[in-house]
Each structure stands twice: as C-alpha cells, then as structure tokens.
C-alpha cells in the first residue's frame, strides 16, 4: 500500500492476525503474573486482572481480539486458578456463575472500548481529510489554468485516498478531452463520462473488478452549467475505494466544478476586454482619419468660398474656378465619407442605434441634407397612409436615402421627377426610390451592389461605386433586402425592405385643445 489509507487505521499493527497473537501472549503473561499471587489474593481479584487484560486488548486491537481475549481469559482462569487447578473441571457449581459473569463483563467492556476507540479514530481521520480538502480548496482558488486544477486534484487524491483522477473538459466541439494524457493502465470510458456529463449524475462501474476498474465518473456541476467530468480511478486492488468515499468525492467534484467555472469566466472576461480594446482602437483610428482628412477639405471649401465672395469681385472666369474648386473639394469630401463609412461598416459588427420612428421623418431629413444637390429635380414622397413606426438606425437609413437620392439626381436629367414611395408588404415595409433617367444597364443589375461597381465604367459622371455597396451593408444589417430594377416606362428604381416588427404601444393624450378656458 502506498498511502496511509483508511484500511491502516482499522489494523494498526499492520497485519490483522497479529492482534490475535498479541491477545494470546497478553493472556499468558497475565496468567504468569497472577499464578504466584494466587495464594495471597481472592479468586475474585484474579478475575479483575483478567478483565483488565481484556479491556486493554480491546482498546488496543478492537473487537475481534477483544472477544478472543474474553474467552481465553475465562478458560485460563478456570484451568489455572479454580480448584481443582490444572483442570477444566469445577468442584463448586457456583463458579459457573463466576465464569458467566466474567465472560459477559469481558465481552461487553471489550465491545464498548473497541467501539469508542473506532469512533475516535474515525473522527481524527475525518478531521484530517477535511483539513486536506480545505487545503486543496485553497489551492484550487489560486489555480490559473485547468492543468493546475488537474494537478492539484491528483496530488490530493493520491495523498489522501490512494486514488487517481482524470479531469475531462469539453473542447470547442463539445467532446470531452482529458487535460493530461491518461496514464497507462487507467481505463477511462468515454461512454460513461459522456453519460455523467449529459445527465449530471455520477456514473460508477463498480461491478467490474481488477486493477484500473471501479472508477467513478462525477459530473462537474457548477452553478451555471455542467463544466466537465472528474473521473476517480482506484490505484490499488481496492476497487471499492471510490464507493467508500463517495460523499467526500462528490464534495471534491463540486469544488473542482467551481474552480473550472471560475477559470471559464476569467477567460471570457479577458477575451471580451481584448475585443473592446480593439474595437476602441479601430474607432479612434477612423475618427482620427476622418478629422485629418476633413480639416484640409474644410479649409479648401471655405477658402474657395472666400475667393468667390472677395471684394472687389473677381471676374467671371475666376469666379467659375473658385466654384469648381469648391465643388471638387465637396466631392472629395463625399468620397472620403463613403470610404470611411465602408471601413466602419466592414470593420466588423455594425453597432446599430435602433429606435422606433416614422419613415417620413428620415426621408425629410435626407432631402434637407442634400439641399443643393437636389435643386434641379422635383421630389415626390408617397407613403402608405397606415405606415407604422419602424425600428431602425436613423443616421444609417438617412445615409441610404442620401446615397439613393444622390444617384438619382446624378443620373436622371435635370427637371425630371424623383419618386420615393413606401408601402406595406406582409411582414415588411417596402421602400423604393425611382428616377426618370436611363436606368441601370440590364446586365449589371445584380452586380451593382458590389464594392467599386459602377453602372457605366469610366463614365463622365463622378463616383467610385461605393454608394450602393454601403446601402446594401446598412439594409442587410437591419435584416432587410435591397434590389435594383428598371422601370418599364424608363428610369432606375432601387427598392429595399425593412422588417416591420412590433412597434411599442403608444398612449396618445386625449385630444384636448391647448387653450385653457379663459
């Protein structure tokens, strides 16, 4: 036996039979001591010496030897001390009473003493185990990796219980994997581990015997979920070891479960923090870029304006040039804006600031924002009367309308009509922006929403083809679809849908007139 396991406590002299030999020897010694005293002492006092021997044997060696001591003492007393001596025959029948009482007293005191002794031993063993468990819990609390957890548990079990342990944790695919390679000779059945993991109940294979059998599979039930399986495997031939210590091992498993869960959440917190940091870095780079590009553009636009307004006024050609500088700078600014938007939209998850609002408002805002770019066109907005509130990010949807209106204004002839319409279509709202221009090239209708795609490559109309790609990214982030068509009557149409959802309840005030009854 490697450890100082429980078995040792019950057989303190190593081999259990040794106790019986000691009993025989002790009884012999008692007889030897009592023999010369027999002439001075009453037989009743000789009985006391034998009872003392039984008591001592019981205290030292436990129940079995105590019983033996009781019988041997009675026999020796009869043989050597009760007349006729050196014979088991008894002259006086009253000695039979002496023998019975002596035997009874010897047996009872022996049993009581042995019981007390065993309880004391159990208590000190329990205390030792509890202290060891506490030590282990303290170590677990400081563990930084699941490898450390596994090591701590293995060390503890080998010291205290002569058991081996294998810690199984699920990998990314949910398959249970041992933290360390399972030592040669230990049989860990994946099947049993899986059952324990899925059912959250311990699984045991005590029915099988032999080295490496008698393992117990304990699920690691943490407060939030089952985190894995801890397998206890007996090291020795004692295949019942796991069963004997089941309550304690269950406690141990729950300690390990908490440690594993703590590690899990520490990991989650760390990766979240990393994500936040990289997100912040990305957004600060974009906003620095935006600032650095827009500052010179602002100066350019403003200075061109100043030129145009300078007094005395410039001559017509110079005025034209100042206006051209201004236009080009604004165009560049639009491109920069598109590129930055695209970078932001493609940088990962788009953080939508969704709010319930009427579509009408964002359409009005887009028209107002484009201002001068739309002066040459007429705009007509037709929305269904029962248009509900929709949940969307107003800034991004405004971007979509701006891009679509800008396209329409760019490609449709001056003075023509641009129509914006919205209608209900089942679970979603369908919105289209249509113009009276030449329409999209029919063979490129689906490719239009790709990045850097343009209806007419190298055309004189400015643009790099990011506008529609941005629209698609925004609409898809809202759970909608976007498509381009050509109208039968001529002209391009871009239609997108937005899911309707369930608008919040609105409690309108009673229609009281504001005027107080004066």
């Amino acid at each position: 036996m490697r450890g100082n396991g429980l078995g040792k406590i019950f057989t303190p002299m190593g081999h259990p039979n040794r106790g019986y030999l000691w009993v025989l020897l002790a009884c012999a010694v008692t007889t030897a001591i009592a023999a010369p005293l027999a002439q001075y002492l009453d037989l009743a006092n000789i009985v006391m010496l034998f009872l003392l021997t039984v008591l001592l044997m019981a205290a030292r060696f436990g129940r079995g030897p105590a019983v033996l001591a009781a019988f041997v003492s009675v026999a020796l007393f009869d043989f050597f001390f009760v007349p006729p001596q050196l014979s088991f025959t008894v002259n006086d029948a009253q000695y039979l009473v002496t023998f019975s009482v002596m035997l009874a007293v010897a047996l009872v005191t022996g049993q009581l003493t042995a019981g007390l002794r065993q309880q004391a031993e159990m208590a000190s063993l329990k205390e030792q185990q509890t202290r060891a468990l506490y030590e282990m819990a303290r170590e677990l609390a400081g563990a930084l990796t699941s490898q450390q957890v596994s090591e701590i548990v293995q060390r503890f079990l080998q010291m205290e219980f002569d058991l081996d342990a294998v810690l199984l944790l699920p990998d990314e695919n949910g398959n249970l994997q041992p933290i360390f390679v399972v030592p040669e000779g230990l049989r860990v059945e994946q099947q049993f581990a899986l059952i324990a993991f899925e059912q959250g109940q311990p699984v045991e294979d005590y029915t099988l015997t032999g080295y490496g059998y008698g393992a117990g599979y304990f699920p690691l039930k943490a407060p939030v979920s089952v985190r894995g399986v801890l397998v206890f495997v007996p090291n020795s031939q004692n295949t019942q070891a796991v069963r004997e210590h089941k309550p304690l091992l269950a406690t141990l498993a729950s300690l390990v479960a908490i440690a594993v869960e703590r590690l899990h959440y520490a990991e989650v917190a760390q990766s979240t923090q990393l994500q936040v940091v990289s997100e912040r870095l990305r957004s600060s780079i974009l906003s620095a870029l935006s600032h650095d590009l827009r500052t010179p553009l602002t100066a350019l636009v403003g200075l061109a304006d100043s030129l145009a307004l300078s007094r005395p006024p410039l001559h017509a050609e110079a005025l034209d040039m100042a206006e051209a500088i201004r236009e080009q700078a604004l165009r560049l600014s639009g491109l920069v804006g598109n590129l930055l938007d695209m970078a932001r939209l493609h940088a990962g998850r788009i953080a939508l600031r969704k709010e319930w609002q009427p579509l009408e408002e964002v359409i009005g805002a887009s028209i107002q924002l484009l201002g001068r770019a739309l002066v040459n066109h007429q705009i007509q907005v037709t929305l269904a009367k029962d248009m509900p509130l929709l949940e969307f990010d107003a800034v991004l949807i405004e971007r979509v309308f701006c891009n679509l209106l800008e396209n329409a204004a760019k490609y449709a002839p001056a003075g023509s009509l641009i129509e914006i319409s919205g209608s209900l279509n089942g679970e979603s709202v369908e919105v289209s922006v249509c113009d009276q221009g030449q329409g999209f090239p029919p063979d490129k209708l689906s490719a239009l929403f790709e990045m850097f795609a343009r209806g007419v490559p190298e055309s004189a109309t400015p643009g790099v083809g990011l506008g529609l790609a941005i629209c698609r990214a925004i609409i898809e982030a809202h759970g909608g679809l976007i498509a381009a068509t050509n109208r039968a009557a001529g002209g391009a149409c871009v239609t997108f849908s937005l899911p309707m959802g369930t608008p919040p309840r609105i409690e309108l005030e009673l229609d009281l007139e504001n005027r107080s009854s004066a």
Partner: protein
C-alpha cells in the same frame, strides 16, 4: 443697422480655417478674436465679452465639451460648434453641455453665415419675447395660445402646443431629443424617443405644407430638432 459691430471669439487650431472664417465674419461686420487652443480661448472669451463663440470640438489641449462646460459656468454667450467628428454622439454631448448649434466639416461660407446670423439675432433680441411668431403660412399668438394657418385656427393638443412653444423659443438652435423629452414629458420619458417623433410628425402634418419635406420644423438626424422661421 447702426448697432455696434458684434464681436466673435473663434477657437480653432487650424490656421487656414481661422483665416476664411475670419474673412467671412469680417465681411459681415463682426470683430473677430482668434484663439489657437482651449485655454487661450477661455481667456479671450472672458476678456472680450463676445456676442458669439465659435468652437472647434477637436482642440489639441482641451476637450471641446470641457470648454463648453467651463464657459457655461459663467457665461450664456451662444456657442457654435465646428465638428469633424462623424458620430452623432459627440454632437449630442456638446449640445447637452450647453452648445447652441453645430456645423459639420466641411462647410461653406454660406452655411456658416446663416448659422452665425441666426445666433446673433437671437442674442440681440434678448428677453423681449415677441408674442406673435409667424413662419410660412402659420401665425402663433403666444399670448393667447392660438395657432392660425391661412387665418384659420388650428387645434393643437396640450403636448403639441408645449412642443411647438419650446421649438419657437429657440429659433435656429438644435434641441436634442433628450432635452425636448425632459421638458415636455418629464424626466421619466427620456428613453421614449418614439413619443417625441410621433408628436413632431403631428405638428408637421398640421403646420407644414409637405410634412415629408418640412421647411420649418427640421430634423437633425440622430441628434434632435431645430426650428427655422
């Protein structure tokens, strides 16, 4: 007008922008005092007692919002923000801190002057509130709480009227969603943006020629609303 020329303090770190803004403002008859950074800007604002402060949000030494909060502790001078930042949140924070209006870079001289004029006009008017406000074909008689359109009385609900009153009280100023919700519905409704949007929609349907293309009750997307006469 024979008013004394208004003075403007401009806090902007980019020299070329200062240059054209100064030219534009001086063309309007303003006296312009420049500051390259926030600290200097605060000193200028304290010594010159300007009628208007123009502030770039991205200052090298001081966060623009800190500047506004500092200035607002001792002055009510209108503040016009110049912002190259693209997120609406920065604007909302600046407006809630006490700024009056903002311009997103790049902007033209025309837009700049329109905003400056509106802010100076409001400053000049001071407290003498005009009980009769007209815009488009609408006339609001604040003293008698009557709204007329084409001479006909328009019925407004209590909330609609309160909302209109707030907008009319600060023409040209961007009022954030938060501010309007708090003033009209009270602090418990600050998260209920959809109420505000619905009531603004009602006002537009009652007062605008084309509610989908409003000319007076304007949307500052993601930020708030602005009234323009």
């Amino acid at each position: 007008m024979s008013e004394p020329s208004p003075s403007v303090v401009m806090v902007e770190d980019e020299k070329q922008i200062r240059r054209f803004v100064r030219a534009a403002l001086e063309g309007e008859g303003c006296r312009v005092f420049e500051a390259e950074n926030g600290k200097q800007g605060l000193i200028e604002a304290a010594t010159r007692k300007p009628e208007l402060v123009i502030l770039d949000l991205g200052l090298p030494d001081l966060d623009g919002v800190e500047f506004i909060r500092d200035l607002r502790t001792w002055s009510t001078v209108p503040i016009l923000i110049l912002s190259a930042r693209s997120t609406e949140n920065d604007k909302i924070i600046a407006l809630d801190a006490g700024a009056d209006d903002y311009l997103t870079k790049p902007f033209g001289v025309g837009e700049l002057l329109a905003r400056v004029r509106a802010l100076l006009r409001r400053q000049g008017k001071g407290n003498e509130a005009n009980p009769l406000v007209t815009f488009g074909d609408v006339e609001v008689d604040l003293a008698n709480r009557v709204v007329r359109r084409h001479g006909e009385v328009i019925r407004l609900t209590q909330i609609e009227y309160r909302l209109l009153g707030l907008l009319l009280a600060s023409p040209g100023k961007v009022l954030t969603h938060r501010y309007l919700l708090r003033e009209v519905w009270g602090p418990t409704f600050i998260e209920s943006n959809h109420y505000l949007r619905i009531y603004v929609g009602h006002l537009r349907h009652k007062l605008e020629v084309d509610p989908a293309q409003p000319k007076h009750i304007l949307t500052e997307t993601g930020v708030g609303y602005r009234f323009q006469a």
